[in-house]
Symmetry: C2
Subunit: 340 residues, 2 copies
Amino acid sequence: MDDRKQLILRAIIREYIGKVEPVSSKNITGRYGLDVSSATVRNEMSCLERMGYIEQPHTSAGRIPSEMGYRYYVDYLMEKYRLAIREKQAIENRLDERVDKLESLLQKAGEILSELTNYPSIVSEPTMTQKRYRHFKLVEINDTMALLVIVLDDSSIKNYQINLVGRLKEEDYKTISNILNDRLAGQDISGINSGMLPDWGYQSLNDKLVMEDILRALANVVDQDNVHNIHISGTLNIFNQPEFKDIEKVRGLLNFFEQQKSLQKLVESGREGISYRIGEEVPLDNLEGLSVITSTYCVNGKPVGTIGVIGPTRMDYSKSSTLLEKISENLGISLIRLMK
Amino acid sequence: MDDRKQLILRAIIREYIGKVEPVSSKNITGRYGLDVSSATVRNEMSCLERMGYIEQPHTSAGRIPSEMGYRYYVDYLMEKYRLAIREKQAIENRLDERVDKLESLLQKAGEILSELTNYPSIVSEPTMTQKRYRHFKLVEINDTMALLVIVLDDSSIKNYQINLVGRLKEEDYKTISNILNDRLAGQDISGINSGMLPDWGYQSLNDKLVMEDILRALANVVDQDNVHNIHISGTLNIFNQPEFKDIEKVRGLLNFFEQQKSLQKLVESGREGISYRIGEEVPLDNLEGLSVITSTYCVNGKPVGTIGVIGPTRMDYSKSSTLLEKISENLGISLIRLMK
DNA sequence: TTTAGCACTCAATCGTTTTGAGTGCTAAAA
DNA sequence: TTTTAGCACTCAAAACGATTGAGTGCTAAA
C-alpha cells in the first residue's frame, strides 16, 4: 500500500463518515492533497477494492469503506482529533460537580459522552477489588428489628435491617458488635458469601439464629458487590444516524440495549485501554454494521471499569475515541474523589 | 342511534382493533349478529359517518372508527373481557413473590402489565401521605462521621451519613438522639423541610452546626419523599403496533417516555379509578393517535398512585382495562404487605 | 505514469396503466 | 317503508416502462 493509496483510502473514509454516501473518484480529487485527475484516482480505487479495503454497492456507484478499510484506518491512518474548548470544559465541569452517589456519576459520564459523540454510550460499574471490613455496629431499633451498620475500608457505609427472632438485651448489641469486630475487621469481604456461612459455634440456639441472620446480611454485601450493572444512555441518538432509517434495525438495537447480559459480554470482552471493535469484530451475533469503542477507566492506575460508545461502522472513530479518552480519565479522577 | 347502528359500530371497532385495516361493509355482514345485506350495512355506515362515529380514509376504502366512535364504544358498547386463567395466575404469582423494595414491586407490576397487554406501561410511585417520625438514633461511626437512623411510623427505616464538623463525645450521641426523640417523635415528617429549618436555640456554635446538619438530613427525607418517580416498562412493545411503522413516530414516543415531566403530567391528570383518555383527550400536544388508560391503586381504600397503559387509539380497551383493574388491585395488596 | 474521452451500467425517479376492493346510488323486491 | 341486487364510479396500490444521471472501466494519446 503506497502513500497515495493511503491518502485516497483516508479521503474516502473521512468523506464517507461525513456524508454517509458512496464516494466518487471526482469527489475527492483536488482535495485531501490529491492533485491528480479523477481517472488516476479511479485506477487506485479499483486497486484498493481488489485489496479489500473498499467496496462498491453497485457498478455505477462510488466506493464505501469495507470493515477491513476501517480497521486499516483506525490502525494507521487516523489523525488525532483536537478537542474543542467547549467540549473540554463541558466534560470537566460536568464531571467535577459534586455528586454523592456512584450511580449518578456513572450516569453523568455516560450522558456527556453520548451528548458529545451523538452515539449511545455504555458505562460499567467499577469493580472495586479487595474491599475489607473496617468496623461493625449493631444498632437497636425496636424489639423485632435491628440495624447492622458496616463500614468498609474505602469509608463507604452499608446497612441492613435484621429481623430479630428473639429479644436482645441492651448489652447483647455491644457483645455482638464486638464479636463481629474481633472476628472480621480487616478481613476481605469475600470471606463471607452466601455459598457457605461459617459456623462459629454458638452458646444457644437463639445466638445461632441471630448471628446467622447477620452473616447472611454480610454475604449480601459481597453478592451485591458482584453484580456489575451496566448503565446505558443516549440510546435515542441512533435515530440521528442515517443507517437507522429501518425500523427493524432500530428495534434490534434498542432491544439489545435492554439485555444486561449482552451488554455485559460487550463490556467484558474489551481490552484494557482504548479498544476498537469494528463490524464483525464486535462479539455479538444478530447485530450487524456496528462498531464499538471502549476505554477502561482507572482508579489509582488500576482499570476498574469500562466506558464506551456504540455506533454504526462508519462512526467518527477519531472524535469518539478522543472524547472517550478524556472522559474516562476524568471519570477515574472523580471516582477517587467520590470514595474519599 | 338505534340498535342496529350500535351493532355495526361495535362490529367495526372490534374488527378494526383486530386487523388494523379499514373495515368494509361486506366484511361484517353475516357476523356480529348482522343478518342483513352489505347494502343495508352501507346505508347505516354512511349514516354513522355523518354522525361522526366513523370515517373513511378515502372514497373507495372501508371505514375506521373516529375518536368519537371509540369514546362511544368505551362508554356504551364495550363488553367485559374475561381474564384467561393463565393471565390471572400470572398476575397473582408475579405480584405475590416476596419483594423487598418498593421499586422492584412497581417495576414488576409494570412489566406484567406490559407483557399481558403488549403496550408500554407507566407506574407512578405511591404518595404516602402523613408519615410520622417514630424514633431517632444517632450512631457513632468514627471521628468524622455519624449515621442518623430514622424510623418512621410505617416501620420503614431511613439512614443518612452525617459529616461531623467537630468531635463528639460518646454521651453526645445519646443526648442528640434524645433531643430528636423529644422534639420530633410523633410529628409529621413534613414539619422539617429544606425551605425553612427550625432554630432551636443552641448552647454553642458546634451544637448548632451539628444539629443543623442533622435537620438538613431530615429535610431530605421529605424532599426525597416528594419526588414521585414514574417507572415505565415495555416501551419496545410499540414496535409491535402497526401504527408505529414510521420511524419518526417511534422516535417521538420513545423520546416522550424519557421525559419524566411529561409522564408526571400524564399520570397526575388521570381521574380516580379507571380513566380512559382517547386521542385528543390525552393532555399531550405533539403526540397524536394515542390513548391512555390509567387506574389508581389503593392502600387501605385510599388511592395512592397510578398505573396505566399507553397505546394507539385503536388499542384493545376492553382487555387492557380489565387487566389494569386486576393488576392495580393486586398491586395495592402487595403494597400493604410490603410496608408491614 | 497520467489523463482526456467515451461507452457502458444501473439505481433512482417519474409517468402511465392496470387492478381490485369498496363505495354510492337507483330501481325493483319485500 | 325498508331491504337488497346490480351497476357505475372512485382511487390507492401495484405493475410496468421509459428516462435520467452519477459514476465507472477502458482505451488511446500525452
